[in-house]
Symmetry: C2
């Protein structure tokens, strides 16, 4: 796959710097995978290893500066970043923090503010004690939250980003269409999970970052469990919810299957879930509030508790499986062009027995476009 | 797979509480996936979603307390944890932090210390601003680092844990043996990566959490890159380094392959790498220092820079792809029974062209046992 051009990252950096100027920030300090990748293009699964810190500093002007372990220099050197400062890691001393602090002292005047990504979906990827050391070493500069600046900018995707998400969704869609090849009565759920991940890879996923789901008679207990070895049985509803990765961008949607003919309750619940996601898609355009999307779905599915403990019924999607915004009844913020949103209505059929459906849409100037190929009202049937 | 019995988690908790008492900690606050899973058994891929905080409090006495989003209650309810307190999430207010603070105030007297896992491989999984709010809400309790207590306890694995790692390694080993089915001259590297992940699933991996590698004429540039679409060519050395997951435990080792007959330099380098890992395994027993393992390998491979920018040549392995300890020349700490260690010697053949080999051993009372089936000195050849 062709990497994004440097102009993509330069545009992101310029938008961040405009926001930083408005907020009085002299620099941004990035410490986590999606934040660093968003401004550099640095894509590696090596973040699975928690042993080394990684830093990128976005200065008030000019391109970002990478302050990273030497093991990453070769790969970062293939990005648009030219100022790459490396430290030995792991190491017994504070040389990594010292190099970072030196960089921050160069870019931020005494008394200046260093912004850290803040709000939902963020954390500072540093050991507890190192964080105190870094504050000491930066001398008269102060760390403050960025007020959600980085998250807000990431919410509005470029056309190039949406293309990757659409491709990831298409890959997952083709894999879902092939579920009858690997699942049916008598097949243990863990074997279904393995087989489904194989289908995703076969259809072109770079990797399968997420697979959860459930199976049970007439519904399932939750949507986050790993698979058990219990064989599928007639009357089960099987749900698979996957995040496949293509070029660093995620899909996130699910599909439900009835093992054998569905009962009336399951068939009707599925039709309702499909109607709910379609109702939300129909009103989705720039200006629609997140709460309006919530209510468009919840008004159709509200037999159970709101969100049936999921706490929201949809969210942003892109470089991570879940991003802001959250579709919640009190969210008065509005959709903006370029947002990619999952619509994830849930029905609680009885206490501890739910069905969840999920689709993906992109917000365009005049409405919304499906990125997932939307499921039909009739639940798919496995033999 | 059978879950660990409650006695496994009770023993872990008792060991933590002994360490807490010695360190004067009234509670431990856990916020990350491996820490929470270690004390509860809570296993889900849902951590891929960064949108919600999760907390477990280990009190001075008695079982841990889960303070988690409602979406996790069903799955946590299947663990040995009985005290499960849930909050709505995502939410616009501080109710999650308030519930956590209430729990901490119950368990920790005013003036008491709350330990946070600290040191390499740790972070506090909370947004920047939430961390300040939590400190305010806990009223006269102080957060301190745990001095590496949690990490140190996790380093010595139980027999049940080592069994899972051994199974993960066996799965990866069977997949490596089948690489000739999916790789050879003319096959694009990204297709090799997809095919290899499929083999891992086919051999029984729950999921493939990590795959990196490289391919290039006579060696590769780094060990953390994702795949490109470049086809393998005769003379290439292909390296695949994978972390497959079985029951929540990882493998982590690699294999090298020569596309067509290897040149003398590559053949010799491979033999040297194998000799290095065997030399380290031969001296590995309780009491051997991490530095001694380092030097056992490095004395054979030291044509290049120490560690050729990887910064260490081996590390702990278990619930994460990489854990402490690190095999570094200055690490005077010693191996202990139950440690699982990767041996990862590297040779720099020329600037920017390296070969890396990796095996996994478990430290037993009287020596070390291979968990990976060790590679022979002769590099495997693909047609």
């Amino acid at each position: 796959m062709t990497p994004f051009p440097a102009s993509e990252f330069a545009a992101r950096t310029a938008r961040a710097q405009a926001g930083m100027a408005a907020a009085g920030l002299s620099a941004l300090l990035l410490t986590t995978e999606p934040e660093i990748r968003y401004y550099t293009g640095f894509l590696t699964r090596f973040w699975e290893s928690p042993s080394r810190p990684w830093f990128v500093v976005v200065p008030a002007e000019g391109p970002p500066i990478a302050v990273i372990p030497a093991i990453g220099a070769h790969l970062m050197g293939q990005s648009w970043i030219r100022d790459i400062r490396t430290f030995a890691a792991p190491a017994p001393d504070e040389s990594a923090l010292a190099l970072l602090a030196l960089t921050l002292r160069e870019e931020v005047p005494p008394g200046g503010l260093i912004g850290l990504p803040d709000g939902a979906e963020t954390h500072v990827r540093l050991p507890f004690s190192d964080w105190a050391v870094l504050q000491d070493l930066t001398l008269r500069r102060r760390f403050v939250g960025d007020g959600g600046l980085v998250a807000r900018l990431r919410q509005a995707k470029s056309a190039a980003e949406i293309d990757r998400i659409a491709t990831a969704c298409a890959i997952a869609g083709r894999a879902f269409a092939r579920v009858p090849e690997i699942a049916g009565a008598g097949v243990p759920l863990d074997q279904v999970f393995r087989g489904f991940q194989g289908l995703c890879l076969g259809e072109g996923a770079d990797w399968v970052a997420y697979l959860a789901g459930g199976a049970g008679p007439g519904g399932y207990g939750d949507v986050i469990s790993p698979a058990t070895a219990r064989p599928l049985a007639p009357g089960d509803v099987l749900m698979l919810d996957t995040g496949v990765v293509h070029g660093g961008y995620y899909s996130d949607f699910d599909r439900n299957f009835s093992v054998g003919p569905p009962g009336a309750e399951v068939a009707e619940a599925h039709e309702t879930l499909i109607a709910a996601s379609r109702a939300a898609k129909a009103i989705a355009h720039p200006g629609t509030t997140h709460a309006e999307l919530f209510h468009a779905m919840h008004s159709l599915t509200s037999g159970g508790t709101p969100g049936a403990n999921t706490g929201r019924i949809g969210h942003g999607l892109g470089m991570e499986l879940t991003e802001g915004p959250s579709l919640l009844p009190w969210e008065t913020a509005s959709l903006r062009p370029g947002m990619v949103i999952t619509l994830e209505p849930v029905i609680e059929l009885s206490p501890g027995r739910i069905m969840v459906h999920e689709e993906v849409i992109a917000i365009e100037e005049d409405g919304a476009r499906w990125l997932s190929n939307p499921a039909p009202p009739q639940i798919a049937v496995l033999s």
